[in-house]
Amino acid sequence: MSPPALTAMQQGLQSCEGCGLLSRPAPGEAEGHCPRCGEELTFRKHDSLQRTWAFVIAAAVCYIPANILPVLTTFTASGAESDTILQGVVLLWSPTGWPLSLIVLIASIIIPSAKIMALVYLLVSVQRGSIKNNEQRVRLYRMVEFIGRWSMVDVFVDTFTASLVQLQPLMSVAPGPGLFFFAAVVVLTMLAVESFDPRLIWDPISRQSNAGMELMKLEV
């Protein structure tokens, strides 16, 4: 059977996010500092859900111009041509170049939208006090955390394309306004992940299992 789910918070103990030390707030204090590393301690990240929502909504708003506005403009003798992220993927698609095209497609289009949807799902399920699929939800959180940085690929592609192709008047490449919004989506979703507290996923189930466990004593 599963072990009795007793959390540090239920024992009035705070776990340090910096060094991992477990400690109890001083009498009369709600929260204090870690005696080992000095970090400010809280039972759960403050305003985690509100802050995460704010970042996710901001990211979703930026996602639209990020995909509509051009990220690169190519100037040649025959004129200027602007490409959005999706057009960049299509341009890269060729019998030999398709693996790279696929990388950009996954990193720039699929990951950012999947990330926003995953975060919304986590937020909604936590707010509804869901006790289902906890293992899957925490795994989803870790995946979003791990994969987020890879969306920056397109920013680097455009940066180095633009910095290298400076052969005026023959040909030159300049970044477009979409690049800013795209970079904003990446940064905002990373900040959203950082402000989300995964322990909130487990709190409803801990409360439930604790009901019958009031008398369980902790062997310290």
């Binding site: 776990s15 500092h33 080992r36 690049l179």
Partner: protein, 230 residues
């Protein structure tokens, strides 16, 4: 006790007792043989991996990373030739060009994630490992150790390298591309940085570190004497 408005918590007497950082489950960390790891029974988060000879290996890998980093940022990364004209760029040059093209914020982000954050990741690690070689690492080691994971999150050398590869192949259709020495240095740096992080065992350092509370106690005692004499 109040120091700079800071109230310190009362630590549990047994430091092997922990709350899982991802689900807060209260549990005891078992003693682990070097190389072994412990996972949370409820959420499967890796709580601790006991690294073998952590400090020495990390130090060696950090020095290698520092050398590769300096090389990667001082020589050209990419070049191209087309109808007799040549152009080169470095990592830093990429960010500068973006700045001149009116994308200052994105340029700042590129500079931060590809140049500054990796430098901090390597530099802080070097300071941490050197400081932790003492029997009782001073409190400033703990301060650096607290911020080190942030530098790791924002240091994106491996992502940049993939980005450079894609750019390289895109441009190869238009001109002859010359991969620079920095490109190979960056490729090696990705692996050395991953190995550096994998060799490091923060718990080993935390177990021996000088406590923040003890430092505050010294200062508090000093304040009291000062008050008495004045």
């Amino acid at each position: 006790m109040r120091m700079y408005g800071a109230v310190f918590n009362q630590p549990v007497s047994d430091t092997s007792l922990i709350g899982c950082p991802q689900c807060d489950l209260l549990q005891r960390l078992p003693a682990l043989a070097p190389g072994a790891s412990a996972r949370c029974p409820r959420c499967d988060h890796e709580l601790w991996r006991h690294r073998e000879d952590s400090l020495n290996r990390t130090l060696a890998l950090t020095l290698a990373a520092a050398a590769l980093y300096l090389l990667a940022n001082s020589v050209p990364m990419l070049g191209l030739t087309v109808v007799g004209r040549q152009a080169f760029t470095t990592v830093f040059g990429g960010a500068v060009q973006l700045w001149h093209d009116g994308q200052q914020i994105v340029a700042g982000l590129v500079l931060f994630s590809a140049v500054i954050a990796p430098a901090l990741q390597i530099g802080l690690m070097l300071a941490i490992v050197l400081g932790a070689h003492r029997q009782r690492p001073p409190a400033w080691v703990g301060k650096l150790l607290r911020y080190h994971p942030t530098t790791r999150t924002w240091s994106m050398i491996e992502v940049m390298l993939i980005g450079v590869m894609v750019a390289l192949i895109k441009i190869a259709e238009l001109a002859t591309v010359i991969p620079g020495i920095a490109l190979f240095a960056l490729g090696a740096l990705v692996f050395v940085l991953a190995a550096m992080q994998a060799a490091f065992d923060p718990r080993e350092v935390w177990d021996r570190i000088e406590w923040a509370e003890a430092g505050a106690r010294h200062t508090a005692a000093g304040n009291v004497t000062a008050e008495v004499t004045s």
